[in-house]
Subunit: 363 residues, 3 copies
């Protein structure tokens, strides 16, 4: 408990945990107050994600580099995975897909851009390990191609679904392979190239193993419970806020699910440890694209009402493509100044504005 | 007057000023001779653009770096702006948009390509400040995304116009912000990175302030008057030359409006001052994309018959995208040889040929 | 004959020549056994391509650098050219186009990727001359734009064919010009930049001139004869294997036609001479895109039943574009490790899987 308590003092986001009982209370008292439930569940997920993130890192820190890297790589986006699984079980595939694409775009543009901007406002010029950036950008580029090619092939109506289903399964397998091989490359055979880009780890004291594992288990269950309320309320809440479903899935869910990682990435940038920020932002994006998304496709065969495919709507693919291209271009030099952050954020704003203004029927 | 006269001897383009009285004479004598009026107005705009460009630089040179940079950045494409405004008032939005997209593509591919080729024929290998090239290419890339995303979103027919209108206003605001921040970055906070890339300035003796300001005022009015004849005659003249409207807007107007800058860029390349050429070509392109185009959208609410949006036809967006990508790829190394120029010019020729052959109904 | 014999011992692929008499025997005995004829003709083309490739190199080695470079540049893809010409005469334009696009994509992704992977499994990190890679990637990018722009322009139905025809002729001329100028650049004016990237040549003892020229003539005729059986049998064989026509043209024909070059590229990579591999893979791709494809368009006016245009179906253009972009990104640093190869092969697998699963009617 002392470990948890010292966390509270260090990490102000954790005070948002007061909204955890609030959301459950609201649910039993006012089950029809969708907007309230939506807001409370968002506020409750953020601190849970923070706890989950620290618990994962603590377990990873204790288990040695390779197992730890593996753990970080599989559980690093546990929050996003649990939210998406809840939406998957509810058959809300549109929300699942929007939140996947949105998480990738938000990590690549908003998290990276705000890190560059925050770091750049404090330091004139910052440097980072561009080998890491290049590896992650390449993996993202691969995932983008995997999502884009099926949409580029024009199909007669009747044939589309069987083909898309088979292709999605095959592509999911390929992406998971590529992700696994990328880990072999960066954690085993060529680890010396990636030294400066360790994912967090040493910036906070790790918890003892028992605390970490218990936290991991308990908080995952809590996230699952809150996610259910979130997924149930999101659509009606969005309407009452005047937001399109595409905007909610793409922007709101992505910002909520990634809040914990953003806190780490931004604090890294302010401490002139941009390697950390770039590693978290791009690493998290490529993890979602090459691990979380294919795993969801595979799990949809077990858990969903019907199998889910990997096909996104054209606008989302185009946004992923340009997010990836922009990230490739700006990280190519391994240097950053504030304006690089502005550029990334501007691209994000263009996307967010388009989705916000989009007439609901066209999403 | 001595200053003006010495200009005439140095800059042979100015002798084209004889076509200025000719075009007004032709208009009062033969108001229906569209082809003649078109040719004469083209020939008259070129020297006016040259005078305008030198006057702007002279004012900029006297007012210190920051104000000067600001002036160059806002008035540097005054000719294009005046032509576009004339077309805007006449409600010819297709011509306005074609000339904007065309000016960007022409600057990026033709002006830069011909500079590389002309320089490369004289020098074996030339170098330039690639930080400048990268900044401008990034800004162009941002503008391309802003123009592309709205087209990537499929819309139901009824909803399109309100959505496109709002989005165009929002994107115009974003682009102007990005342009302003880019100036803060290159003129203020990180100016040391851009030292070698000053926009012209010292390569010609600046005029005295009085001459410069008078020239600026008088010539702007003259350009506006000739532009009116140009815009009125262009469509019928194009038909009689067998050119499509897309070709005229994209290629002819762009070459006419940019003639003065091309003269400076090419002469810079021949003097092995490629920084100057790259700065003019890419700087002018990004100015049109991030400043002139959004300003025209905003002004269309005041001056046009109906508001204009930022939406281009798909072919134009694709051309802008590939022009920007090509420029990013070839300027990435900061070195140039003649073949790099050939590559850029070939891409330009592909575009020009496509637009020239295009059946009129499909533009 | 001794020269030929020593080849047999060094190059195990040549033993496949036993299938040459087999395919002619099968044709006269079982002219309807399409699947058998298809398999035998594939097996017979591979060693013929190897002989053709070595004969070309031998002639090139004897004739000095410039003429030799020219010969390599025009005859280097003689096998692909002969197969495509046979399909052209048979009016199978879909197969011609699929095999062109497929050869480019296969060279860029499979040949380059497998070279990086095979080299990377033996050496920790390999380097290559990135100037060569950049030149070839730029040429490929130019060709991709030339193939993409006509498809990006939307046309009314009636006008499409005349416009596409004229544009294809014009673009073919442009591409051949660009290819010729690229040779002037790399073989004449700036040859010092490309020194390490000589196309093969010195890695095998060249044959005497007489042997080489005779082999060139005889084997070209043999390839033409076998190609005829191949083109006749391919469609029905594909059906019986359950392969789509797009998959056969894009993947099978490309792998068959490029087998000889692949052998050289892979052996170069295993000997840590990655310059050789990159030069062969990208050089061959750009040769097909900028020389073979336009020549086929021009020849279709003389040899084909109707003129052929340069228009590909959208999926093929997208694949070419992403193959070229991927190659640009990964060769940019001039360094390679095994994972770079995996990335390229993964992109190739995505394409191959999509084409394999594609319902036949949609190709």
């Amino acid at each position: 408990m002392t470990a948890l308590w010292s966390e509270f003092r260090r990490n102000p986001l954790l005070w948002l945990l007061v909204f955890l009982p609030a959301v459950f209370a609201a649910e039993s008292l006012q089950p029809e107050a969708h907007t309230l439930l939506f807001v409370l569940s968002v506020l409750a997920i953020v601190p849970l994600a923070t706890l989950l993130s620290h618990a994962t890192e603590s377990v990873a820190a204790k288990t040695g580099d390779t197992v730890g890297g593996l753990l970080n790589a599989t559980l690093g986006n546990l929050t996003e995975l649990v939210i998406a699984l809840t939406a998957l079980r509810a058959g809300q595939y549109m929300l699942v897909k929007a939140s996947i694409a949105g998480a990738i775009v938000t990590n690549v543009l908003f998290m990276l851009g705000a890190s560059f901007l925050l770091g750049g406002l404090k330091y004139h010029m910052q440097e980072f390990n561009r080998v890491t950036a290049r590896l992650q950008a390449s993996l993202l580029f691969l995932a983008t191609i995997a999502l884009l090619i099926p949409s580029a092939v024009k199909l007669a109506d009747g044939e589309a679904s069987a083909f898309t289903q088979q292709l999605s399964l095959g592509l999911s397998g390929l992406l998971i392979c590529a992700y696994a091989l990328g880990m072999v490359f960066s954690l085993k055979t060529h680890r010396e190239l990636f030294t400066a880009a360790e994912h967090g780890g040493d910036h906070e004291t790790p918890w003892p193993m028992g605390v970490a594992l218990t936290t991991l288990a308990v908080v995952t269950v809590l996230v699952a419970l809150v996610s259910e309320l979130f997924v149930e309320s999101v659509q009606q809440a969005a309407e009452s806020f005047g937001m399109t479903p595409a905007f909610v899935g793409f922007i709101v869910v992505a910002l909520v699910g990634g809040a914990a990682e953003m806190a780490s990435a931004f604090s890294g940038a302010r401490k002139n440890r941009l390697d950390l920020s770039v590693g978290i932002a791009l690493g998290s994006a490529s993890q979602i694209a090459l691990f979380v998304a294919p795993v969801l496709v595979l799990l949809s065969y077990v858990m969903g009402p019907t199998p889910m495919d990997l096909r996104l709507w054209p606008g989302a693919v185009v946004m992923m493509l340009f997010a990836t291209l922009t990230a490739s271009l700006v990280t190519n030099s391994g240097k950053s100044a504030w304006f690089v952050g502005v550029l990334l954020l501007m691209v994000y704003l263009i996307f967010a504005m388009t989705l916000y203004l989009l007439p609901p029927a066209s999403a």
